[in-house]
């Protein structure tokens, strides 16, 4: 499930500050102190305001499938930086790093998404 990151080897073609552009408090749902990285397959895309969501299916250590709810900023801000509704599609393999949910163990606030070709979308200074 967890994926080791290779920041130096990843081409950062699209840059954005994912949650830095929030318009409501992420502190209510997410912790700033804890992050997690998960790899899996996109099973649903929700590219609408107020926040994009990618549901991904991740294989847990016991072999069972886990469904993760990963959340980004608003499409209005993403498309201006080149991240459109077609950038990540159902069936894509992705690795996502983000702030962990406070209560829901399978909830992430996206900091970056790494696509199958190594492209990383999100913050580059993390």
């Amino acid at each position: 499930m967890a994926s080791a990151c290779r920041p130096a080897a990843i081409a950062c073609l699209l840059l954005l500050q994912a949650q830095a552009d929030a318009h409501h408090s992420f502190a209510a749902e997410f912790t700033a102190e804890e992050t997690a990285t998960v790899s899996g397959t996109v099973v649903e895309v929700w590219f609408r305001n107020p926040h994009v969501r990618y549901y991904i299916e991740v294989e847990a250590e016991n072999g069972e499938a886990q469904r993760w709810d990963t959340r980004g900023t608003s499409p209005s801000l993403l498309v201006r930086r080149g991240w459109t509704r077609d950038t990540i599609k159902v069936g894509d393999k992705v690795t996502i790093m983000g702030h962990k949910g406070r209560e829901n163990p399978h909830l992430l606030s996206i900091i970056w998404v790494e696509l199958a070709d190594g492209t990383r979308l999100g913050k580059v200074d993390y």
Binding site: Q19, H24, S25, A27, A28, P50, R53, D69, S76
Partner: protein, 346 residues
């Protein structure tokens, strides 16, 4: 779900420290702070006072912890980052030659950790007399510039406001997560979205990308009709004080002020003062909420934007389905609807 940071008692709403060493009366009063370093420049007002044997500090209208020891002082200011994570800026410095100066550090985890730096404080100048109008061209598209605003987190709430706030659930009660307008008081201070100003004779029209809200600011002195309802955007009139645009907003509907969920009452007013840089490329604003029913000291926000003719204002269609679906998935839908009345601010 409720973040621990909003619980009463964890954060000291008004921190008072005994006078230590020789009390320096020269510190009492209003100071304009400027924080500089590797991060964006910040500006804000610090008010220092004394209540008996204790020092009291407010920054941008909100309480801050303060220690004074002779000419030395230490101020700890709670702030939120753009994602809503709460952290502190600790200013340590001293008073000399009629000014304050020192260094500041950051305490706490944030989405975008800030570096520390230096800070200065100079006496706030008294308000000057109004000047004859000298209108300037503020029309165009403006995108947010980083910095300037402290994003002070807690404010000095009245007992009534504090009692209401105690029951606020930061995520579930925030209007815009379910695609309901958060209102102009919150929107005007948010960070990420551009807005456009259209100028006509006697009127300015502000078009905000976020929530696709439109705001008319009448410059011809007209009053709202008697039947004009309260609303999240209120009713705005403006005038030119020299080259500064002053906007007064009334008829606001009860709402919340910012991420923390502090209330804005029916009857609140908002005062904004916009200034254009000499080269016309930068617009700045000081925004003051006047709501004595909820705030003992008026909250202040500051913003800057840069003129950006290359930007377009995008449509902002909002669909609350994912908000309700998350609650459904997490078994919280009943909880949400059982407290619907709670989201009506009296």
């Amino acid at each position: 779900m409720r973040t621990r940071l909003s619980r009463r008692g964890l954060f000291v709403s008004l921190a008072l420290f005994p006078l230590a060493g020789a009390a320096n009366d020269a510190l009492v009063g209003d100071w304009m702070l400027e924080l500089t370093g590797k991060g964006p420049r910040l500006v804000g007002q610090l008010t220092l006072g004394r209540q008996g044997d204790t020092w009291v500090a407010h920054v941008e209208g909100g309480p801050a912890e303060v220690r004074v020891d002779g000419d030395n002082l230490d101020v700890r200011i709670d702030s939120r980052d753009l994602a809503g994570f709460v952290f502190y800026r600790r200013l340590s410095g001293r008073y000399a030659d009629g000014k304050l100066s020192g260094t500041f550090t950051i305490e706490g985890a944030t989405e975008d950790p800030e570096p520390g730096g230096q800070w200065t404080g100079v006496r706030k100048l008294p308000d000057r007399a109004p000047e004859p109008p000298r209108p300037v061209d503020v029309s165009g598209i403006w995108t947010p510039a980083p910095g300037v605003d402290f994003r002070k987190y807690t404010m000095d709430l009245t007992d009534k406001a504090q009692a209401w706030f105690e029951g606020y659930l930061m995520h579930y009660d925030q209007p815009n997560v379910r695609c309901v307008s958060p209102g102009i008081v919150a929107m005007v201070a948010w960070g990420a979205y551009p807005f456009e100003i259209l100028a006509d004779d006697g009127r300015l029209t502000f078009i905000y990308e976020v929530e696709s809200e439109v705001r008319r600011i009448f410059l011809d002195g007209r009053e709202p009709p008697e039947y004009y309802p309260t609303s999240p955007m209120g009713y705005s009139t403006g005038y030119w004080d020299g080259s500064a645009l002053v906007v007064e907003t009334e008829l606001l509907e009860a709402n919340v002020r910012d991420f923390r969920g502090e209330p804005v009452s029916d009857g609140a007013r908002m005062h904004e003062r916009y200034s254009l840089s000499d080269d016309g490329r930068r617009l700045s604003a000081v925004i003051t909420l006047l709501d004595p029913e909820n705030y003992r000291v008026p909250p202040v926000r500051r913003r800057e934007w840069v003129r950006d003719p290359a930007t377009v204002i995008l449509p902002y269609e909002c669909d609350p389905d994912s908000f309700y679906r998350q609650m459904y998935d997490e078994g919280k839908l009943d909880m949400y609807f059982e407290r619907s009345e709670r989201r009506l601010i009296e």
